[in-house]
């Protein structure tokens, strides 16, 4: 024992980083074929960065999977490919567009493709025989997520059964499952949005440019700023303005709104996030407004 040196507790980010690295290593050591969901969004980038650190100096021992709705921001797609190369990872893309083109999926009347991701995701998990799938979900994002385990069991249909979850004790993660089942793993469970930004700044992690303020043609609908794009064209009565905006999440263009912002740097964003009066999903995800239990319904169906 070295009782001579006083030991200070780890700082918040050190503790969170160590916990996530521990989780990533447990999965790599105990599952046959893990895969990590990677969209180029900030949470998935932080997760990939943590994976690179967890397995350093060896490469990340599993591949990445992106479910591409076909409605992604071009800035995010080019960033995605650069990040994959930077971290020395390999990427598989499951394309919602392919499913629509060959008739396996049909476009929804409202044009939103987020709900359409479930089938290509589950198919990719099944064909790749992936028994563990990393997701960047955080428990502070939404009320249904607050109850999700770090290791979250899914049945053959990818369904989450919130009333029948395994207790998760100490840091003993139990990933045993039956054939056909798989486990969703959330290494960022205990991070908050502010932690993510603090970490991006501390680790100097590059992000897609649309996370920072830029000029864009937008229109205000239902209190949300929607970009005018091919996917989301102007509607009758829209008042189109050029505003300085940024995105807090970078999902499907058809259902991700911008926020008015002048934040050009991580520090600006941290200030903005720390003071903002809107939660991340509420401000920018139109599809969470569909019903009070929107997220819970999608999770039960196999969405993340």
């Amino acid at each position: 024992m070295n009782q001579l040196t006083p030991v200070r507790p780890l700082t918040e980010l050190q503790a969170l980083e160590s916990e996530s690295i521990h989780i990533l290593r447990e999965v790599a050591a105990t599952f046959a074929s893990p895969i990590m969901l990677f969209s180029g969004g900030k949470d998935s980038v932080v997760m990939l960065h943590l994976a690179a650190k967890a397995f350093w100096p060896a490469p990340v021992p599993f591949g990445l999977l992106h479910v591409d709705t076909g409605h992604n921001f071009p800035e995010v797609l080019s960033y995605r490919d650069e990040a994959v190369e930077f971290y020395g990872a390999t990427l598989k893309v499951a394309s919602v567009q392919d499913y629509i083109d060959d008739g396996r999926l049909r476009e929804r009347p409202d044009g939103t493709r987020n709900p359409l991701q479930t089938v290509p995701l589950l198919d990719a998990i099944q064909t790749g025989k992936h028994d563990a799938v990393f997701g960047g979900g955080r428990r502070d994002e939404e009320r249904a997520r607050a109850k999700e385990r770090v290791f979250s069991m899914r049945d053959e249909f990818g369904q989450w059964e919130p009333r029948n979850q395994r207790p998760e004790l100490w840091s003993l993660y139990n990933g045993r499952h039956l054939p056909g089942e798989h486990v969703r793993v959330f290494p960022l469970s205990n991070w908050t949005e502010l932690d993510i930004w603090d970490y991006i700044e501390a680790e100097k992690i590059a992000l897609p440019t649309i996370y920072y303020a830029h000029e864009r043609d937008v229109t205000e609908r239902d209190g949300m700023w929607i970009a005018i794009t091919e996917v989301t064209p102007a509607r009758d009565g829209d008042q189109i303005e050029s505003r300085s905006v940024r995105y807090r999440t970078v999902g499907d263009m058809s259902c991700t709104a911008a926020v008015l912002s002048n934040a050009n740097t991580v520090a600006d964003v941290i200030t903005e996030v720390g003071l903002s009066q809107l939660t991340e999903r509420g401000a920018t995800r139109a599809d969470d407004r569909m019903s009070e239990a929107a997220m819970e319904d999608r999770k039960r169906e196999g969405y993340f």
Partner: protein, 457 residues
């Protein structure tokens, strides 16, 4: 090699809390109040709560709705499962395991308490210490949670009476002593009114202690694990020679393909470069050559840190092994005695074949005996006692003896919360059945503790 920029955190630390209370003690309101008064609730969430409150015909926003998660819970107005909440002040970030006080209370409280530094226990000022309080405090003691605060809630409903508060605090102090809980503190609170949660109340001038948040911001946050002997379960062996080095590693000139390190998290104590350690269960000795991280090498690693350790000599090490301080390392056990919280509907019987997951190891085990269950239906002033039992049922706390297929270096839970704990897993479908704490039960070691069940390993 140059260390990269250290994390910019302003020194803020992390404190893990668990709440416990019976139904109607106002726990959801207290948690809602903590979130609300620390500005951790943002406006759209609050809009939603106000909308729902109005629809229910309530005069003002029901803060308890902030913590209602699942649809079934909203419909039934109860909380089913442990939910995790996050709030922060400039001094600390808090992770709160919000444990329902309802059905499955033991299961949920055990789960939430397993990682907690502090338990926030609630009572209704009108009822004082009740059976549930005694149960929850017993669980806190069993799980060795370092600090317990008793929130005497609804103090407004007893006219902010000092006498009522003092009587409850005295009862509680006696109970804590009998259960061997060392550090407790009582606070008079009205969660609905906001008295002494975040802001000091002018209506309790007779109370000069901290508010709930004030307490949480100042309580000693040094994890118990830091003071314990060094333990490091090996997660995996890092040997990149069969694969190209990661792009990052390639940037470090001294790194080559012959690299061999052991990745894991320091579960307790600390380790320094040059120190001798013992590799368990084999018992071979080795010296720490280096402590590596992608941010640069360290001279010392402490409890909670994920690192890669290199050894000076070539010893046989694989996942599941534990590096331990050479001073009193745990003996690999084939027979282990433990206190178990049973978490599953299916019962445990003598002769059952199960899996034991400990550290990073997993092995088959057979239940040799069930030596009794803890009677927590406590009368005021009584200490827990052991009842004869031959099965364990959901929410039971029992003493069992297991034979392991391969010996594991399991510590006594009293000294090592991480490496003294293990979970019992169903071999057929992988379900987590029980939470086990090895060695003697903390409860029974208090000065006026009850007798241990007779048979032990």
């Amino acid at each position: 090699m140059a260390a990269r920029t250290p994390l910019r955190t302003g020194g803020r630390t992390l404190l893990r809390l668990a709440t416990a209370g019976s139904v109607d003690d106002g726990k959801s309101t207290l948690v809602g109040r903590l979130l609300f008064d620390t500005n951790s609730v943002l406006s759209d969430t609050l809009d939603h709560v106000e909308k729902v409150s109005k629809r229910k015909g309530l005069a003002r926003a029901d803060l308890a709705l902030l913590t209602d998660g699942l649809r079934a819970e909203r419909e039934q107005g109860i909380t089913i499962d442990v939910a995790y909440r996050y709030f922060a002040t400039p001094a600390r970030k808090f992770i709160l395991a919000d444990c329902p006080g309802h059905v499955q209370y033991t299961r949920n409280t055990v789960t939430g308490s397993s990682t907690a530094d502090v338990i926030v226990l609630l009572v209704d000022a009108r009822n004082g210490v009740v059976e549930q309080t005694r149960r929850h405090l017993a669980v806190a003691s069993l799980l060795r949670v370092p600090h317990v605060i008793l929130v005497v809630n609804k103090i407004d409903l007893v006219d902010y009476s000092e006498d009522v508060f003092t009587a409850i605090a005295t009862d509680f102090a006696m109970l804590a002593r009998s259960l061997g809980v060392a550090d407790t503190h009582c606070i008079p609170v009205s969660a609905t009114e906001g008295d002494n949660v975040v802001t000091r109340s002018t209506r309790t001038p007779w109370y000069d202690g901290p508010t709930v948040l004030g307490y949480l911001e100042t309580v000693d946050d040094t994890p118990l694990a830091v003071g314990a002997e060094f333990r490091f379960p090996v997660q995996h062996v890092v040997r990149p020679q069969n694969a190209p080095l990661a792009p990052w590693a390639a940037r470090i000139p001294t790194m080559d393909g012959d690299y061999r390190g052991y990745a894991g998290k320091v579960e307790s104590g600390r380790v320094r470069v040059g120190e001798e350690i013992v590799v368990l269960p084999r018992g071979s000795r080795a010296t720490i050559e280096a402590i590596d991280t992608p941010d640069g090498p360290l001279k010392i690693a402490v409890a909670g840190q994920s690192v890669v350790l290199r050894l000076t000599s070539d010893v046989d090490v694989s996942r599941g092994d534990i590096f331990a301080a050479t001073d009193a390392p745990p003996a690999p056990l084939r027979e282990v005695t433990a206190t178990v919280c049973w978490l599953a509907e299916r019962e445990l019987t003598i002769g059952a074949r199960v899996l034991v997951q400990h550290g990073t190891a997993i092995t088959k085990a057979i239940v040799r005996s069930i030596d009794g269950t803890l009677d927590l239906d406590l009368q005021p002033g009584a200490v827990p006692s052991w009842q004869d039992a031959d099965t364990l049922r959901l929410n039971d706390i029992g003493r069992i003896r297991l034979t392991l297929a391969t010996p594991l270096p399991i510590d006594s839970y009293r000294e090592h919360r991480a490496t003294g704990a293990f979970i019992i897993v169903d071999d057929s479908d992988g379900w987590t059945l029980g939470a086990a704490m090895a060695g003697s039960t903390p409860l029974t070691a208090s000065s006026n503790g009850c007798a241990q069940p007779g048979r032990g390993a």
